[in-house]
Symmetry: C2
Subunit: 225 residues, 2 copies
DNA sequence: TCAAAAGTGTTTCACGTACACCCATGC
DNA sequence: GCATGGGTGTACGTGAAACACTTTTGA
């Protein structure tokens, strides 16, 4: 058995669509490039894969650098292979999307970027490379996933209220959902637990605080748009 | 703007899960390897990506070589990156699955394999590399996809009967489906057209022949397991 | 005319949807 | 006590599931 002959392979990178939710808005993390190509343009964070490194490790490395964050929920999205997608040469991108709570992270541009910032997904600037395409697919996937699997909790604080979860769903799905039917579906799914505590401070009734049920049972749910 | 420095990149290959359906059985196409590693073991067909080649082109090349077939339905599945997945060195695999009609193709082993054959998905041999994992994910994806999107037709002849389509669904989903409710859901979806012809030969009532409606309208469907 | 399988229709029931009411809190 | 928003209950209708009957064909 002979090892691979060292013929040339395409460059291999991961690109990350990092979603954050705060102030009732869904946002994406973007970098402003310091160097060509696409100098001074906004792009998704990413990094080249190092030998012996797994996609997930590369993602974690980027998230740690840009966000100072560990233990982030992420999922592989799709692999992009258009030969013209990077003007520097052939480059394959394996895209992941991640869900974080912006309140818990401190973004920092690092040496490779002029700036790093959260953008509301409804007011995106033009993106370099094929990153608009990647972002569009990620948003589509997130919307689909959230309707049948409990990923929404990743975007909220550990304790959250039902109205907060409801607002999150309406924001991400960009639609209105009957709050009473929504409540029932979520409760019936057994994915969340009522802590008995209440969110204080509001000048009207104090809503119950829930937490995510990590040992998720069989019950699923289905939020219809 | 400088081009990529030529540091070493992992090898990049595509692996294909080719599904076929005939004689009321779902099958997968496997190759028997002529060389190490995994000599004389069964594996999924695949090929290394050539520079300037897209995943889809590599897949087509494999399908053309192994099956003498063009115009095959295929879809990207997932990318696999375990550093230990190939004993010859670091190799990334982008997996695709394809749906073909075995009646229309002539499989040939080619120079790289001892043999090539269809295996019933319920009686798979042990597979080399991480190909069992890839196969499992592909079957899961196919099962999920077929419940809401018209991919089943890719596995049948151009003209097919309702009982044939029904049998296909029961086989792939490995469950029984009420034939009358199934018929209604498919008809209501507008994905198929009654040609007016009938399948001759059977010694009982001759079923209507349908064809796939390529200009698919908005109506979807949902086959529940 | 009989068996086997395909085409068509109907009843039933569960779930999703729409909607109304009561409760808690701060001013 | 009043405005605001959160928690709970219920009637209704649509659509999926369960099921029966008729039709067509070859032997």
């Amino acid at each position: 058995m002979k090892p691979f002959h060292s013929y040339q392979n395409p460059s291999l990178a991961v690109d990350l669509v990092v979603f954050g939710y705060s102030h009732e808005q869904l946002s994406v993390l973007l970098l402003n490039r310091k160097e060509a190509p696409f100098q001074d343009q906004w792009v998704l964070p990413g990094a080249f894969l190092q030998m012996e490194e797994r996609f997930r490790d590369t993602c974690s490395r980027v998230l740690k650098t840009k966000l100072g964050m560990d233990d982030v929920y992420m999922e592989q999205l799709y692999s992009f292979d258009d030969p013209g997608r990077d003007p520097r040469g052939r480059a394959i991108a394996v895209a992941y999307y991640a869900l974080v709570n912006p309140a818990r992270v401190a973004v920092s541009a690092g040496s490779m970027a002029n700036d790093v910032a959260w953008f509301n997904v409804r007011e995106l600037p033009g993106l370099g490379f094929d990153h608009k395409e990647i972002f569009d697919l990620a948003l589509q996937r997130l919307r689909s996933k959230i309707t049948y699997f409990p990923v929404g909790f990743e975007l909220l604080d550990e304790l959250f209220t039902m109205p907060e979860l409801h607002e999150l769903y309406e924001c991400i799905l960009d639609t209105s959902i009957d709050r009473r039917n929504f409540r029932r579906k979520i409760i019936d799914s057994d994915y969340i637990i009522n802590t008995g505590k209440k969110r204080e401070g509001a000048q009207n009734r104090h809503p119950d605080l829930y937490k995510f049920n990590k040992k998720l049972k069989k019950n699923g749910f289905q939020i219809n748009v």
